[in-house]
């Protein structure tokens, strides 16, 4: 824009401001900053002393399988037969058809594809059990299962799912009613026993390396069960409890996520299978609108219309009216 054109541009009170030609008063900005630094230090020390911070211990596959072996076994069979939430998730974990969230043609989850591959049967059940030494019965059951035709495998896992629905736990031990589920009973029983010793935690995390900081697989396994969700529900952390902005105990949590969380309570996002993508699109649009607010007519006029600025600059306007 040329200088002449800029000069000709009409003054817009929502975009332009005259340079301040009024009085300037002494103001010790460094002193203000120092006092503020100390004041906030006192405030956070007081808050820390009075309220501390939450630290609810993490759930392990061991603690879960001991506390609720039935839920563990029900989750494990869904991982083996490929019906769990992770097994049917789609990208970025696997290629389940039509699982990716989308809005019309907009399907970014599908476009980026699988980058954290997870084969629940192999990674969560068969693979860990194959690492167990001196367990001939378990290895024989795995051999039988893996060499069976898919239809036979499906018949066994379906039968086990029905049986484990009526399973009980006696002194932490899994008791599954008898049924025609072939080697699957031994497989899931062995996995439950392995988890109860703590072996499964290490095996899922290690992935053949000594050092590992990637908890994707144990967390996905844990999240497929109902044990984690039930504990979260009790701590008012579920999605329909505005849980995204909460944390354990009576702590403020991420209160700044209130708007993001709110969209999950509103139709159609609260029931939509594409709800996450819809909420993210809304939040991206709103975030961009906030960044570019100075360019958006009507929205940028709201401050002038609401007159809240007269409260902020009340001394200035009082002096202006007196003069």
């Amino acid at each position: 824009m040329s200088a002449d054109r800029a000069k000709r541009r009409r003054f817009n009170p929502d975009r332009d401001a005259h340079e301040w030609k009024g009085a300037y008063l002494p103001y010790d900005i460094v002193k203000e900053g120092f006092v503020a630094l100390l004041a906030v230090a006192v405030l956070i020390v007081l808050l820390a002393v009075v309220f501390s911070s939450p630290d609810e211990p993490a759930i392990t596959l061991k603690s879960w399988s001991i506390a609720d072996p039935v839920d563990f076994a029900q989750t494990a069979i869904s991982e083996l037969d490929g019906t769990s939430a992770t097994a049917t998730y789609g990208p970025p974990y696997n290629t389940t058809p039509d699982a990716a969230q989308h809005m019309g043609f907009f399907e970014p989850e599908q476009w980026f594809g699988v980058h954290q591959p997870v084969d629940t049967a192999q990674d969560f059940v068969i693979g860990p059990l194959r690492t167990l030494p001196n367990q001939p019965a378990t290895q024989a059951a795995l051999n039988l299962y893996q060499s069976a035709p898919a239809a036979q495998q499906s018949a066994w896992t379906t039968a086990y799912e029905k049986a484990v629905a009526n399973a009980t736990a006696v002194h932490g031990r899994l008791r599954v009613p008898a049924g025609r589920y072939g080697p699957v009973g031994v497989i899931i029983g062995s996995l439950t026993a392995m988890a109860q010793t703590g072996g499964l935690d290490g095996t899922l995390l290690s992935e053949g390396q000594f050092y590992n900081t990637n908890y994707t697989k144990p967390l996905l396994f844990l999240a497929d069960g109902t044990y984690l969700a039930n504990k979260a529900q009790a701590q008012h952390l579920a999605g329909d409890q505005w849980g995204m902005m909460n944390e354990t105990g009576n702590y403020p949590g991420q209160a700044w996520l209130w708007l993001y969380t709110m969209w999950y309570q509103v139709a159609p996002m609260n029931t939509s299978s594409n709800g996450d993508l819809e909420v993210w699109v809304i939040m991206m649009v709103l975030s961009l609108a906030l960044i570019f607010l100075p360019f958006i007519p009507v929205l940028r006029s709201i401050p002038r219309w609401t007159h809240v600025y007269r409260l902020i600059w009340r001394r200035h306007y009082r002096e202006l009216s007196l003069s």
Binding site: D16, A23, L25, L37, V40, I44, P54, P57, R315
Partner: protein, 232 residues
């Protein structure tokens, strides 16, 4: 006062190094941020409201977030679970973050109702908003890397939102190591740089004057800065 273009060559010494990149950058920096504007000792008379305090409160809260975060980083991510001192430092970190967001949101709303983007201050507004958004991401990764029940639940729930955008292919919220690096390195660098730019822009343009201010209506200046610009 004669208007001198920013970065203009004004002395014989300047002319000798006029083509240097270093000299050019220094001249532009000096012209854009003269010391009295960068660290002013006077402010416009209209700056008489508590709302202005929340900008500096946000900044000092960020300072305490960084200080307490550095102590936690020095001792390692598991320290605060096994040490009462560590737990106290973690509490300081948590509450400085809560204060930081509380003050920043009030600052943001205050600036909105002042329409603080007026008078070539649009980039000041935009960097402020981006700073808020990057801070949200920084805090979020902090919640993911607590190594406790909160982390487990938040990460397994948040993965669905992140994955739905396609970002989950590269930004795996279930990967503790990756999230810790983002939380203690990349995002703090981002917040610090953007907040720094935001402050420099406030210095450069000054705080926005009230609506309806007109050079004709305003009283004659009693004291001004050397540049004649409002500096906040």
């Amino acid at each position: 006062m004669t208007d001198i273009p920013i970065g203009a060559v004004t002395t014989e010494e300047d002319r000798a190094t006029a083509d240097q990149w270093t000299a050019r950058i220094r001249r532009r920096a000096e012209a854009a941020f003269p010391p009295k504007q960068l660290l002013p000792d006077r402010q416009p008379a209209f700056m008489a409201s508590w709302i202005y305090v929340f900008g500096v409160l946000t900044l000092v809260s960020l300072t305490w977030v960084i200080v307490t975060g550095c102590i936690l980083a020095i001792m390692g991510p598991s320290w605060w679970h096994v040490s009462s001192t560590g737990h106290f430092v973690n509490s300081l970190h948590l509450w400085s973050v809560e204060c930081f967001f509380f003050f920043m949101v009030i600052h943001l709303w205050g600036k909105f109702f002042m329409a603080a983007w007026r008078g070539k201050r649009r980039l000041t507004w935009a960097t402020g908003v981006v700073s808020f958004l990057v801070s949200v991401a920084a805090a979020f990764t902090g919640y993911l890397t607590q190594q406790n029940f909160d982390s487990q639940w938040i990460s397994t729930q948040a993965k669905d939102g992140i994955n739905s955008t396609g970002a989950g292919a590269f930004w795996n919220v279930l990967n503790f190591g990756q999230m810790l690096m983002w939380h203690i390195v990349l995002l703090p660098i981002g917040v610090t740089i953007i907040a720094g730019l935001h402050i420099l822009m406030v210095r450069r343009r000054g705080i926005v004057p009230p609506f309806d201010v007109s050079p004709k209506k305003a009283p004659a200046p009693e004291v001004t800065t050397s540049t004649g610009e409002a500096a906040a």
